[in-house]
Symmetry: C2
Subunit: 192 residues, 2 copies
Amino acid sequence: MEVLTTEQKIINAANKIFSLKGFAATKTREIAEEAGINLALLNYYFGSKENLFKIVVKEKFKMLIEVMAPILSDTTIPLRDKVESITNNYTQLLLENEELPIFVLNEWSVNKEMFAEITLNARKIAQPVIENQLKESGLELSVADFITNILGLIMFPFVAKQLIISSGLIKEEEFITFVTERKDKIIAWILK
Amino acid sequence: MEVLTTEQKIINAANKIFSLKGFAATKTREIAEEAGINLALLNYYFGSKENLFKIVVKEKFKMLIEVMAPILSDTTIPLRDKVESITNNYTQLLLENEELPIFVLNEWSVNKEMFAEITLNARKIAQPVIENQLKESGLELSVADFITNILGLIMFPFVAKQLIISSGLIKEEEFITFVTERKDKIIAWILK
DNA sequence: GTCTATATTGTGATAGAC
DNA sequence: GTCTATCACAATATAGAC
């Protein structure tokens, strides 16, 4: 039985509510209630709703980046294996955090200023490595297209989940099977 | 010089602000100001912020669906041509409404209840047609994967635009070229 | 560190004159 | 149909006791 600090309880609750509702629709009272703490403590620890939000978003964002960056920039991993492990890792991560991609992408587009400070030197390290590997494997694909296609094929089902389900293309209870079975196919689609 | 009715001015302003900020972050006063009308008129014409939002979202949503549905369900168009015209039409639509996909997909996932009434019999009509054409063309692809892949490959660059740009994968001013050049590639990727 | 109570400002909505 | 003025309350934030 783990004992959480008040600070951690607030972070956990904020994580949940912000992800579910977005920044503007989330009330600090709701976070306090979810965390089982007094509203005043939220401001005592984090100063403001906006500051708490930034912390949560950065954490979520880090989750997304950390799946890709180290794998992509590793020169010893063959391209095929990179696609495979990114696909597997992301699918797993997203199944455990279904609201993660739409939350991050939306808040990013609505709230550009907040993300200005988050920079990606990850890309700078990975780009030449991938460029090389794409050339070697004979795939006529730019790095931008390669990344966009992998992420798009993996993440889009989660981003568009409600659309896919209410259209009846697949049923709610089939969703896990749907994205799980896509994993192997994605590797084939990307690598032709 | 076109003269707009007050009602239309409000719709246009609401379209713009809601798309930019989402439902919760949008203030009715801001819509009124953007429309150049009095705040009270917003409620006079539309009753409530929520009702106005529903109208806007349904309109946006219709834009997205109308691009696909008639093409997909047409039995006389070969699969190859369907992919081509959907790719072209969507890319054009999204270039003119860059915020459209993230807005619709996010509001849909955050605000499921609001969309409950919007049903898709479009899918019911298109599904058997596409299923048949996929089989005939020898592509081992389910309808769900086919739709998900087309939409993902076309829409994801717009959904993840901020991520792609701040990573430095492509520059802001290269974005139009990037998605335009993807059009031809997408046809090849989908049809193997 | 944690609480109660309250200050202060938003913000959606409406009453009622014109 | 359109405006001004205002209500009613929701929500962030803080002061100050314990």
